[in-house]
Subunit: 171 residues, 2 copies
DNA sequence: TCGGTAATGAAAACAGTTTTCGTAATCCAA
DNA sequence: TTGGATTACGAAAACTGTTTTCATTACCGA
């Protein structure tokens, strides 16, 4: 059970690894290295959590205001194709992206009050899914499990909720 | 484990129950009974599976070609609010709706080859989710679990795939 | 450095859905 | 039963998130 802490320091070594891996992917595909792509991925891998295109663009523009959202979309697609990033959709109508998480494959719990997203992984759950697929003569490629609900710790939840509202106001 | 059979006969009594329940919902909310809404819900509850707005509109127009998609959207929202229908999104970008299913709450297996959607329900899986939420001090309101993959029965899968392509061609 | 290829950014297009707005239908009170 | 406030309808416009287009610029191997 892991909740992302947006205030934890960036692991610079991990960021470098990701940047290198992406550069190799670009090479392998015969694509070109560009200033914009470097800015975008470097920005992306320094962010934590489940980042929307909008959120990423705002940060990217701080480094280079001339970068447009078409390039951000295109670069995110490349990141997904490279396997370094996964796309998520939690039902609010917009795509979110996550790179290095605390755990590799994982599922999500989403608080509908404060927006908190916790990640979890449980081998018994995974095994049970496999078992059910087997029973149904079905082969699983991937799955998504999302638990929607609310934090039981109302105080902490409310604090996060207010922080979020303040941030939305400021934007 | 239940796969919807689109050729099974319509349960007329069940359809009537749903129609009555919707009429009561409309009353309760102080809304008006209309020819269009009646046509739409009666058409919807006679269809099987996970129906897109487009699919429903096509059928509705057979009964009354003057009904537009705005009314179909609006009526589907009412059906969802009434609790008689659930909205699903399986990642192909469009909303699908399901009314009376073989099982009440259930999760889905989706074949990426032929589009087949199987429904399943497993109490151990549900209990395990509850247990994990408990551990994380989280209260679940609802969840979604979708297994994406492929049928192991390649012959049956291929037949469905071809039927689907033929239908798409004809439309 | 040249030249072919790939990438960029602004704007237009797109898909699914929601809203608007003028007209028509519903239904309750009189 | 009808008048009239209220709700619903349908066509079209608007909206949202995303993708594509197209003219221009940047990359990079020869
Ligand atoms: Mn995650
Ligand atoms: Mn279903
Ligand atoms: Zn919360
Ligand atoms: Zn299949």
């Amino acid at each position: 059970m892991v909740t992302i802490n947006p205030n934890s320091p960036v692991d610079e070594d991990l960021v470098k690894d990701k940047e290198t891996a992406f550069a190799e992917f670009i090479q392998r595909r015969g694509l070109k290295t560009t200033r914009q792509r470097n800015t975008i991925i470097s920005t992306f891998f320094r962010l934590k959590g489940h980042i929307s295109v909008e959120e990423l663009l705002v940060e990217v523009k701080k480094a280079n205001p001339r970068i447009g959202y078409a390039t951000v979309y295109r670069t995110l697609h490349l990141l997904v194709e490279s396997g370094l990033v996964e796309e998520r959709r939690f039902g609010d109508g917009l795509a979110r992206y996550e790179g290095h998480s605390a755990v590799e494959h994982h599922d999500h719990m989403i608080c509908l009050e404060c927006g908190m997203i916790s990640e979890f992984y449980n081998p018994r759950l995974e095994a049970l899914q496999e078992h059910l697929a087997e029973e149904n003569n079905f082969e699983i490629y991937r799955h998504r499990l999302e638990l929607y609900g609310a934090c039981k710790d109302k105080a902490a939840c409310d604090t996060r909720k207010k922080q979020k509202e303040a941030r939305a106001q400021g934007a």
